[in-house]
């Protein structure tokens, strides 16, 4: 490999060449500094593969960089025949195709790099990356390259691949395409009919010979046949289904207007008597299908993206130990109870089981809500979904897949999601009244024309048809979908991803907000919160802790990101598990550890007190036998937590539901200004779920905000469930709203934006009803002919669309890359 000579990264000093993030101490003086090994590896590979163009492209797009998070897996599981059978399909010519969900896709340059990968990996034929869903379609030649090598290449440059989860994608795609073809056919026919009708209206005004008029009418009839027979049946089926369930919705008045107007116009064409409405009815079908397509498309995008995410955080593979003691990576589904598995640091425990060998610490926060890492050693039970923080472990599987604790929790989530009643959307509630009103009005018009004005039966029928066309709820049908689609797209760009649009309608009613603690109110990672000691000591402590993977060492590194000016000689390092670390730094003897590992006297007791009072784990630093500093380490509250809770408290009752110790939860509640009664600690996932169920059953419209697997069932049961940024896959599946921006402040934006969005919807609905009322009164008096209907209808629809576009729903997004 050649060393790069030309400066390719344009990163600022002290910034990672690959991603632009600050470089940790000790690496700043490198000619090309990197923030992490992942970035360094990605940078070199991109150069070696001739894909340096990535940086220039990213620069040109003004897109931010992102650190290359590599998993370092061997991806041997991807070569398993059962895996390929399940996820990949064969193409002619011996090639295969698979859909992979890629982590870490964040800008347009990512698309370029991923799609250029076939240049670097022989046997990789083509990659197409969907930027919106982060799904890559990969074609490769199994004879030339195993899929695991392709996966390793993607992983090495920071796009960890996962097999696509979820089913029904092919059906959804077929459905989307079918709807688009229906829309295309309807639009083409409607526009041509509109042209022909233009001639007819001109003929009405200036006179046109009978043969032309009849010809034009017949052509319109023929052109509207595909619309009625191919495009419109979607509405007829919906209307019929609504009738059978005795829940008439918007499709019913639409179908009535279409069928009535078409039948009347067809008869009028054949007999050569009376007006025709072909232009209005086909335009109606095209407009309504267009709105439906837009809405469906936006919803599909949400589904696709989050099906991809769904298991990205959950157990996907395991390392099975063979009889020869060699660990082989296999798909998680193939593990059976009794198998011996190896779990490396940083990986998830794939099964419920017992530790056979090794000592380590586990992070179970997503399962239990306790932020403190749990030490484990041989003979102790471990649970699937926990993260191994320390050293490699050998585990014997007792329960796998759905039988694990986390599997049971996920089953709870599915149960809760299935039990949710469907939401009746605002527009559908309105349309029920509307259907009855239109039918009554139609009957009244017919009766009045016949009896009151003494018209003939055909003239009365003409009036009824004009009424049906004019009152057809086109604008009403557009009012909600267009406003929602526009509003939710803006929300998504502002970092608020609304998966379930119905949740927006429930936002204004929310009167109770339940929050998880670990990872939601707090950052979910230990930091040095208190430091009582000399600031210059930091560098020495960091130097000593540099090699340690213990959570305390990570907390120091995370908190003290300070440049190290002098490389400090460190030797005689000795780490005592569960107690502390000692060593010689700059020739001075340092001991860093818990009280007991570092000797304490009365003075030390005094200095420990503030940390203990704040509920933090105290860590002492001793230099040459004398106490030099005390650090209080704990899970810090998010910067915007207090302000957000205060704001939420103005209109809702805020409570904390946590699996952590009640005393800790009470302290967090106090620091947020919440009364002690609002703090609930020591809750199991089931207890959280029951709390939410009780709250909603007790008549409190409840919002649940959380991040862990243990919150997922509660999120699904709340009237609105919000998963915060960085949460687990399970919480994202269960929630209605996902935050894709860090922090809690987006929750407030969700409330204000949602309220404004509902305002726009309501404004649209009121406008379309007023229009219908005016149209209906004109038709009732027989003042609306085909031309009037053809002018009024698109005008009202256009107004509704404009009103949705300019509606102030969610705030304009900050400028983001691509």
């Amino acid at each position: 490999m050649t060393r790069p000579t030309e400066p390719r990264g344009r990163a600022a000093p002290g910034r990672c060449v690959h991603c632009g993030l600050p470089v940790p101490p000790g690496r700043r003086d490198d000619p090309e500094p990197f923030c992490c090994n992942g970035c360094a590896q990605a940078y070199r590979l991109l150069h070696d593969w001739g894909l340096d163009g990535y940086y220039a492209l990213r620069e040109r797009q003004g897109a931010p960089g992102a650190p290359a998070r590599t998993s370092g897996r061997s991806f041997a599981a991807f070569d398993d025949p059962a895996f390929l059978e399940r996820h990949a399909r064969e193409l002619p010519g011996g090639r295969r195709r698979i859909q992979l969900y890629l982590e870490g896709v964040h800008c347009a340059a990512c698309v370029w790099v991923v799609e250029s990968l076939p240049r670097a990996v022989e046997g990789l034929v083509e990659v197409r990356l969907n930027f919106a869903t982060h799904l890559a379609e990969v074609d490769w030649d199994p004879a030339a390259v195993p899929l695991s090598a392709v996966a390793r290449a993607l992983d090495a440059i920071g796009y960890s691949p996962h097999p696509r989860q979820g089913s029904g994608q092919a059906e959804r795609q077929a459905e989307d395409r079918a709807l688009l073809i229906k829309l295309g056919v309807a639009s083409a026919c409607a526009m041509n009919i509109m042209l022909i009708h233009g001639a007819l209206y001109a003929g009405d005004a200036q006179g046109m010979s009978e043969s032309f008029t009849q010809f034009f009418r017949w052509v319109s009839l023929v052109l509207s046949l595909p619309v009625m027979l191919f495009s419109a049946p979607a509405f007829f089926r919906g209307a019929w289904a609504g009738l059978r369930q005795r829940l008439p919705h918007m499709d019913l008045p639409v179908s009535l207007a279409l069928l009535g107007a078409f039948a009347y116009s067809a008869v009028a064409t054949v007999t050569g008597q009376g007006p025709v409405f072909f232009d209005s009815l086909t335009a109606l079908v095209a407009l309504l299908l267009g709105a439906r397509y837009l809405q469906q498309r936006a919803q599909r995008l949400a589904i696709e993206r989050h099906e991809g995410l769904r298991r990205a955080n959950l157990v996907e593979f395991a390392r099975r130990l063979g009889a020869d003691g060699v660990a082989v990576e296999v798909p998680a589904e193939t593990i059976a109870a009794g198998d011996r598995l190896e779990v490396r640091p940083g990986e998830l425990i794939p099964v419920d089981g017992v530790v056979l060998d090794g000592r380590s610490t586990l992070d179970q926060a997503v399962l239990t809500g306790e932020p403190e890492p749990i030490p484990v050693s041989a003979g102790e039970r471990v649970f699937a979904g926990a993260t191994n923080l320390g050293a490699p472990l050998t585990v014997r599987a007792h329960a796998v897949g759905a039988a694990t604790r986390v599997g049971a929790l996920l089953a709870l989530v599915d149960e809760a999601l299935a039990a949710r009643p469907p939401i009746v959307q605002l527009a559908d509630r309105w349309s029920r009244i509307f259907v009855v009103a239109v039918l009554a009005l139609a009957a009244l018009t017919g009766a009045w024309a016949l009896l009151g004005e003494g018209l003939t039966a055909t003239a009365a029928l003409e009036r009824v048809v004009a009424l049906l066309v004019v009152t057809c709820p086109c604008a009403l049908g557009l009012a909600t979908p267009v406003a929602m689609t526009v509003g939710l797209m803006r929300a998504a760009r502002a970092g608020i991803f609304v998966k379930n649009p119905g949740a927006v309608e429930r936002l204004p009613a929310i009167r109770r907000v339940l929050l998880d603690k670990t990872g939601t109110l707090t950052e979910g990672a230990a930091r040095v919160v208190l430091w009582d000691g000399d600031a210059t000591l930091a560098e020495q402590v960091l130097a000593l802790e540099a090699a340690s993977i213990h959570p305390i060492a990570q907390a120091f590194r995370r908190s003290w990101d300070k440049p190290v000016r002098v490389v400090r000689p460190v030797d005689e390092v000795n780490e005592t598990a569960g107690a502390g670390i000692e060593g010689r730094v700059d020739g001075r003897r340092l001991r860093v550890g818990r009280p007991g590992f570092v000797a304490i006297d009365a003075q030390a007791e005094r200095r420990l007190a503030p940390a203990l009072a704040a509920g933090l784990s105290p860590v002492l630093v001793e230099v040459d036998g004398a106490l030099a500093g005390v650090a209080g380490i704990g899970d810090r509250l998010r910067a915007d937590a207090a302000a957000t809770v205060a704001e939420l408290s103005r209109f809702a009752e805020v409570q904390i539901l946590s699996g952590d110790h009640p005393a800790v939860v009470a302290r967090v509640a106090a620091s947020l200004g919440l009364p002690p009664a609002a703090a609930h600690g020591g809750l199991s996932p089931e207890a959280k779920r029951d709390r939410v169920a009780e709250s909603t059953a007790g008549g409190w419209p409840t919002m649940m905000i959380g991040d862990g697997v243990n919150d997922a069932a509660a999120l699904a049961l709340g009237d609105v469930g919000v998963a915060v940024h960085g949460g687990t896959g399970a919480s994202q599946v269960a929630a209605d709203v996902l935050l894709t921006r860090a922090g809690l402040a987006p929750v407030l934006e969700l409330f204000t934006g949602g309220r404004r969005l509902l305002g726009v919807v309501r404004r649209n609905l009121i406008f379309s009803l007023v229009y219908n009322l005016c149209g209906a009164s004109l038709a009732f008096l027989g003042l609306v002919g085909p031309l009037g209907a053809a002018l009024l209808m698109p005008m009202s629809s256009l107004t509704v669309i404009l009103s949705s576009m300019v509606g102030p729903s969610f705030r304009a997004p900050r400028r983001r890359g691509a």
Binding site: Q41, A108, F131, A149, Q173, L180, I181
Partner: protein, 68 residues
């Protein structure tokens, strides 16, 4: 004016061909992803030299630890 009896069906025939083309395009998947092509068009003009030597495998190049 009688020409219209021939021209109008002819125009509709052309429109029919357009609709058929549209249906073909949809079936071929050209409307499945409307976002990436918008991004992709910005990328294609980037010169990317094709490398002749065999590419290193990802595992060969984990050399990040050796500089200090």
């Amino acid at each position: 004016m009688a020409l219209i009896f021939i021209l109008l069906p002819l125009a509709l025939l052309v429109a029919g061909v357009m609709v058929a083309l549209f249906v073909w395009a949809v079936r071929a998947g050209q409307f499945d992803d409307l976002e990436t092509p918008a991004v992709r068009i910005l990328l294609d003009d980037e010169p990317a030299p094709r490398r002749e030597e065999p590419p290193p495998t990802p595992t060969d190049s984990q050399r990040e630890g050796e500089r200090s």
